[in-house]
């Protein structure tokens, strides 16, 4: 029993305290729900039924039905897939691009390469991500895109774009840590051993730069959920009939004044809970991994 309690305490500490642990649990639950969507969703999220349209929450449809008689709960459960996939894959793309760029820039301290990379990144971050994303989708259109034999759905385009837009933030963060690390004695020691620059960067320095990056990535997951929802809300994100929390809210807007409150309250609640989860986890991780709070709260 004691061993179990100790393990629990360790787990909690690794999330940065009870609040962070609670956030991690929320996210784990959400992941489980979205993976198990086919098993736990009570209805088919796309099944249209005219006789059932706009039913209030009650037996049979716990969270009511929408204008086409589709079950709101099932749509929220399936919609979690779009939201989570977009925000998680976007962060992965951002990490894959941003971390190497930041490392290279940090290691080129004092050379023109450092200046060139950092100035361009700063200039690109001169526009908020939301506006970049809306502008880019506006320019490329919401129809499926084609590149050679590949077809990109709008969802895919959105996540690639978000990922590219995360690169400056993550690169700048990695750069700041790498700059400090590149001065460290162990780097000089490795250089004297004749180890190549790239090898030092990725196998020795990278692990020491990751803490702030992990924290920021967690917070970016929350931002991604909100941006995906916002963009789908204005009709430029996940396209109907595929359910996403954002496009559910968008169609709910037409029923706001006629009193069908459940159409907007529940999907929005799902967004808020998810964001709370990621934020709690991110704050907890920050307390643990970045006690000096070098990461400023990023406004979305």
């Amino acid at each position: 029993m004691n061993a179990l309690a100790a393990r629990g305490r360790r787990l909690m500490a690794s999330c940065g305290g009870p609040a962070g642990f609670f956030g991690a649990c929320m996210i784990a639950l959400l992941l489980a729900i979205s993976l198990a969507a086919p098993l736990i969703a009570p209805h088919d999220p796309l099944e249209v039924s005219i006789v059932d349209q706009l039913q209030e929450p009650g037996e049979g449809h716990w969270l009511g039905t929408d204008q086409s008689g589709r079950d709101v709960l099932s749509r929220i459960i399936w919609g979690s897939r779009a939201s989570l996939a977009v925000s998680a894959l976007a962060v992965l793309i951002g990490l894959a691009g941003g971390v190497p760029i930041g490392l290279v820039a940090g290691f080129s301290r004092g050379r023109w390469l450092e200046q060139a990379i950092m100035r361009v990144l700063e200039a690109v971050s001169a526009i908020p991500i939301l506006i970049w994303a809306i502008a880019l989708i506006g320019i490329f259109g919401v129809k499926d895109g084609h590149l050679g034999p590949l077809t990109f759905s709008n969802e895919t385009k959105l996540l690639i774009m978000l990922g590219l837009l995360y690169i400056p933030t993550l690169a700048r963060l990695t750069y700041t840590s790498a700059l400090g690390e590149s001065q460290a004695h162990y780097v000089a020691a490795r250089q004297l051993q004749g180890v190549g620059g790239l090898r030092i960067m990725f196998s020795d320095v990278l692990p020491n730069c990751l803490s702030p990056v992990i924290v920021q990535a967690t917070l970016l997951l929350a931002i991604g959920i909100i941006i995906e929802a916002a963009i789908s809300f204005v009709g430029l994100g996940v396209q109907p009939p595929t359910p996403s929390w954002g496009n559910m809210l968008a169609s709910a807007r037409d029923y706001l004044l006629s009193g069908e409150w459940w159409l907007s309250v529940f999907p929005g609640g799902a967004i808020s809970l998810t964001v709370v989860g990621f934020n709690l986890l991110g704050d907890g991780l920050r307390d643990r991994l970045d006690p000096r709070h070098t990461i400023a709260q990023v406004s979305r």
Binding site: A123, V124, A126, P128, I134, A229
Partner: protein, 315 residues
């Protein structure tokens, strides 16, 4: 201070250049040309060549960009839309003030309230007011503004008749009605930034209050209000930076909020342009956003140089 100002201005101009060039190249590299959109699928190859020549689209991108930039810089002229022929300066002049009013009011309210709340929360640490401020900070960053807007419309406009559910009453027509029609949009827009800035003020002020010179000031018998004024001057530096960023971000979120409240501002202009595939309009609106964002950051940097002369000297 002068060198800081010059450097920041140079950097702002560089940002504008990079962003505008990126947008320009992107809008010019879409497979469907404006000629196709305007003339339709039936247009002959000759007609398209003619259209491109008339609008200067047959020149190399760099030349087109140079012309566009020259007109923008020397004549403040965004040009006409290729697809609709609308004068883009006019379009911006029609929509920008509406968006600007909402953003400015939301920004001022959020900044004032958050600095007051953050200060109280830091001064009376672990008191009920601190708990309230921290609760607001957590809720504010987690609840998305557009959902808050939907819920508030349900609660205050549909269930009760306190505020109109959407649209803006012109100020000249009914000043009071105008104010009541912008309360909800401003509130929904400002909430997130209120939370962020409250948190920032609180933590920054707590850091400064714990420093040695604050203890010295108190020990020397300075009036508490005086001590607080000194502390705030130093504590506000990060708050001003974040506030500057927030202003630009609020402009972006105003797009979504305007959409919910049916307000005829920049968001309508941008989304209509996107629907009509009017790229030159998209480009113009996004340029305006960039200008506001870069300008707000520049002002924040300069304000910080004034608040804390060491920054200006060291930078």
């Amino acid at each position: 201070m002068l060198s800081l100002a010059l450097r920041r201005i140079a950097f702002s101009l560089f940002s504008l250049l990079v962003v505008s060039l990126t947008l320009f190249i992107l809008t010019r590299s879409i497979p469907t040309s404006p000629a196709r959109i305007v003339l339709g699928d039936q247009a002959t190859e000759d007609q398209i060549v003619q259209f491109d020549r008339d609008h200067g689209l047959d020149r190399p991108i760099v030349v087109q960009y140079g012309r566009w930039l020259r007109r923008l810089v020397f004549r403040a002229d965004l040009g006409r839309s290729f697809t609709t022929g609308r004068d883009m300066n006019q379009q911006i002049a029609d929509t920008l003030p509406v968006t600007m009013e909402i953003v400015v009011i939301a920004f001022i309210a959020a900044t004032l309230v958050s600095v007051a709340l953050g200060t109280l929360s830091a001064l009376y640490r672990d008191s009920p007011i601190d708990y309230v401020a921290r609760l607001i900070a957590v809720l504010g960053v987690s609840v998305p503004g557009f959902w808050l807007a939907l819920v508030l419309i349900l609660f205050f406009a549909v269930e009760r008749d306190w505020f109109p559910p959407g649209g803006i009453v012109p100020f000249g027509q009914d000043p009071l009605g105008h104010l009541s029609s912008i309360v909800l949009p401003c509130f929904c827009l400002g909430c997130f930034y209120l939370a962020v800035l409250t948190r920032m003020t609180r933590s920054s002020l707590l850091d400064v209050l714990g420093l040695d010179y604050m203890r010295t000031a108190r020990a020397a018998g300075l009036h508490p209000a005086r001590v607080l004024a000194y502390a705030l001057r130093n504590a506000l530096v990060p708050v001003v930076t974040i506030a500057g960023l927030s202003f630009g971000h609020m402009f972006g979120w105003a797009l979504i909020i305007e959409q919910i409240f049916n307000i005829d501002g920049m968001s309508r202009a941008l989304l209509t342009a996107i629907q009509q595939r009017d790229y030159s309009m998209v480009q113009a609106v996004v340029m305006m956003f960039t200008l506001v964002f870069v300008g707000a950051n520049l002002i924040a940097d300069l304000a910080n140089g004034w608040l804390n002369p060491r920054l200006a000297a060291g930078a």
